[in-house]
């Protein structure tokens, strides 16, 4: 197998035009687009700030008074009541969420407006003035405190209403809230070593995507955006390169020669998948490293960031490998390399556009983004950008599963159509 890979690698790397397409072009484009668009978008690269409304349907003082009354009714000693009320302010979830949303760290990511009435907020949401409403319902603080101190089931929950045509926005908002809830549960259960259980403040996640977590970071820079965009686009060319190389093997009769030696067609096909996978991984690694070194694209990133990037890269490389296999199988089976040409001439461009390689398509239309996320390059582009934005890996996984599923489909089809034993 190594022998086959080495041969593929040598034959492709000695073709100057291939090297040009696979490495030089994307790099030049990264440089051009990065410099050209880097200046314009300085403040607002990648995703724009998300405006949301925080609607408080309760007054904390009233809640607290009600809770104090309740404690008195339950017949707790007065010193204890005082103590609880004193600490209650510090652990009130509504206050904490509000503080979190207004924290300077979220600046640039989320812009929280308070003071909306629920109906006003709903109108604003409809008018697209805001992207989401987070509602703290009436009695929320009261119930949470009861849950903590009196071990009662809370009957209300924070509601998050997101206009979800931009996946990434809903991811961010949801992630802020869920993260908050988790953090809150964790902290209160530690704080209350009194045996009080964690609150079960459920986030109503209905109506929008998967749970994601956000640790706020720099927004995506133009260099980051286009390094990813160009890399995932030009990686697709590897598939076409490998398949036309395979077709050339058939045309120059070396494929026949290989078959005469007793080499199994399926092994040959697998060698193409592995070749394309390795070449793609190499190509992406070279592009990322070059871009990182020359443009400081990924400065100050942690080890786990690079680990995640590697996982995404490998998954994508595998997908490109599977596409290469499919193209190879089609080209060899139908004895025509038009498929590779069509792929590199048209499909790549369309996929690259849908996937957002040229411009953040969610700003054009959410439908395109959705379509784009069903292209291998678009899906991993989303995954890469989410990682760069600091979303946790759980948030990125769905896109990875998606491309891996695509790979399995492509390979299965390829194996199905590839001739099993002989040429004719």
């Amino acid at each position: 197998m190594w022998n086959m890979l080495k041969k593929d690698f040598l034959t492709i790397s000695r073709d100057r035009s291939e090297v040009l397409v696979l490495l030089v072009m994307p790099f030049v484009l990264i440089a051009i687009l990065g410099f050209a668009l880097g200046g314009i978008n300085q403040e607002n690269q990648g995703i724009a700030e998300i405006p949301i409304a925080l609607v408080m349907s309760q007054e904390f003082d009233q809640e607290l008074a009600a809770f104090e009354q309740r404690l008195e009714q339950e017949g707790f000693p007065i010193e204890m009541i005082n103590q609880v009320i004193e600490s209650a302010e510090a652990i009130d979830p509504a206050t904490m969420l509000k503080d979190l949303l207004l924290t300077p760290e979220l600046e640039g990511t989320i812009n929280t407006e308070i003071g909306y009435q629920l109906t006003e907020a709903q109108q604003a949401l409809q008018d697209d003035e805001i992207a989401a409403i987070i509602t703290i319902p009436d009695q929320f603080s009261y119930q949470t405190l009861s849950a903590i101190y009196l071990d009662e089931e809370p009957k209300v929950s924070i509601e998050v209403l997101v206009q979800d045509y931009e996946q990434i926005r809903s991811d961010v908002i949801e992630s802020v809230v869920t993260n908050f809830v988790d953090q809150y549960n964790f902290e209160t259960s530690i704080a209350l070593a009194t045996g009080g259980e964690a609150i079960e403040t459920a986030v109503n996640t209905e109506g929008f995507g998967e749970t994601t977590y956000l640790s706020t970071q720099e927004p995506v820079s133009a260099f980051q955006y286009y390094t990813i965009g160009m890399a995932v686009m030009f990686a697709l060319y590897v598939a076409a390169t490998v398949s036309s190389n395979a077709f050339k093997e058939k045309e120059t009769h070396v494929f026949a020669r290989l078959m005469v030696t007793g080499e199994k067609p399926i092994r040959y096909l697998i060698s193409k998948a592995v070749s394309a996978t390795v070449l793609t991984a190499l190509q992406l690694a070279i592009l990322f490293v070059l871009s990182g070194v020359l443009f400081q694209t990924f400065a100050n990133q942690s080890f786990s960031f690079w680990l995640e990037m590697s996982v995404i890269t490998l998954s994508f490389a595998l997908t490109v490998g599977s596409v290469a296999t499919l193209l190879t199988a089609i080209a060899l089976q139908f004895n025509n390399d038009a498929i590779s040409a069509t792929f590199s001439g048209g499909v790549v461009t369309i996929f690259a556009f849908l996937g957002g390689s040229f411009t953040p398509v969610e700003q054009i239309s959410p439908v395109i983004r959705m379509l784009g996320n069903w292209t291998p390059n678009g899906a991993v582009m989303t995954a890469y950008l989410q990682t760069i934005q600091g979303l946790s890996f759980d948030a990125v996984m769905p896109m990875i599963y998606r491309v891996l599923a695509m790979s399995i489909v492509f390979i299965s089809v390829a194996v199905f159509i590839f001739p099993k034993r002989r040429l004719a």
């Binding site: 022998n3 080495k6 041969k7 040598l10 034959t11 000695r14 073709d15 120059t252 009769h253 070396v254 026949a256 020669r257 290989l258 078959m259 005469v260 030696t261 007793g262 080499e263 034993r421 002989r422 040429l423 004719a424």
Partner: protein, 310 residues
């Protein structure tokens, strides 16, 4: 050792191979002769398990190769009609690649590469890419690759097409050496009669998908024992003479050749005199006349009424 039985291959309308019967004994050198499109390559492809016959079978040591392609693949060296090499790789890299595919490795592989390069006489240029090779050199490497695993049977499909006489002569000597000294069984396909005459013990002549004659060279030429070939050299080509000649009862075939005509006729006392007479009746000047013993080319001509090559 290797037998081909009732082999047929039909492509839609064309019967590329139509019931071919042949065998190779161990250590033999056998020629497969035929004009373009005779079905030689198709026969070879089926013998080397590359394509599936429409019907018929190929047997190696009595075992069906169709059912067990793996028994023949390791013992077979196939030199395809086309140059089947990686143009971007050097001769050395090509040979190593295919050597590894055949399971060679390490020292043994290196040694074999050197040995075969020596045999084809390209040791000093092994690092150059195939792309930069001349046609003759490519042909030699094309053969070299098939020799990497020391095959028991070497099948060569027109290994000398389109190359210079020296390379050709080199290759022929090499094949003879492999056959005589190493005892390699050779099936040599060509449409060059001289090559087959020089190399092979036995010959199959193929046309339109059929084997039309087979036997040792002598046996084949005996088909023409009752005939003789006469070259009539003329000062100026004269179609009128052809008509006269064909009309002669002893003459079977007249073909135009350089500076004259080739005449195949039943042996007879006064043929030459008759030819002179015929020529003089229409004022054609004969500048020379040679009687030749028949060649395989003549045999082919006799059998098919056509020349092997145009």
């Amino acid at each position: 050792m290797l037998e081909v039985e009732g082999l047929k291959k039909t492509y839609k309308a064309t019967k590329a191979v139509d019931g071919v019967q042949l065998y190779l004994n161990h250590g033999e050198s056998v020629g497969l002769l035929g004009p373009n499109g005779a079905g030689k390559s198709t026969t070879i492809s089926m013998m080397s398990t590359l394509i599936t016959p429409t019907s018929g079978d190929v047997r190696y040591n009595k075992k069906s190769v169709l059912k067990h392609p793996d028994i023949i693949r390791p013992v077979l060296g196939v030199v395809p009609q086309e140059i089947a090499l990686y143009e971007e790789l050097s001769a050395y890299e090509n040979m190593k690649f295919f050597g590894k595919i055949y399971g060679l490795s390490g020292k043994k592989l290196e040694k074999k590469v050197d040995e075969v390069l020596e045999l084809v006489g390209l040791s000093d240029r092994k690092k150059e890419r195939i792309k930069r090779y001349s046609g003759g050199m490519k042909r030699r490497i094309n053969i070299a690759v098939a020799l990497m695993h020391e095959p028991e049977v070497l099948i060569m499909d027109e290994p000398t097409v389109g190359i210079d006489p020296q390379s050709r002569s080199y290759i022929l000597d090499m094949v003879r050496q492999l056959n005589r000294e190493k005892g390699m069984t050779v099936l040599y396909t060509s449409h060059y009669m001289e090559e087959v005459e020089r190399l092979c013990d036995r010959v199959y002549i193929m046309d339109h998908g059929h084997i039309i004659a087979s036997g040792t060279k002598e046996e084949l030429k005996n088909i023409l024992s009752g005939e003789e070939t006469v070259f009539v050299e003329v000062q100026q080509m004269a179609p009128g003479l052809v008509e006269k000649l064909v009309a002669h009862e002893a003459i079977q075939k007249v073909t135009e050749v350089e500076k004259g005509y080739k005449v195949i006729a039943t042996k007879g006392e006064d043929l030459l005199a008759d030819i002179f007479k015929l020529a003089s009746t229409i004022d054609v000047k004969i500048t020379g006349i040679h009687v030749q013993t028949p060649t395989l080319e003549d045999v082919f001509l006799h059998l098919t009424g056509r020349k092997l090559r145009d």
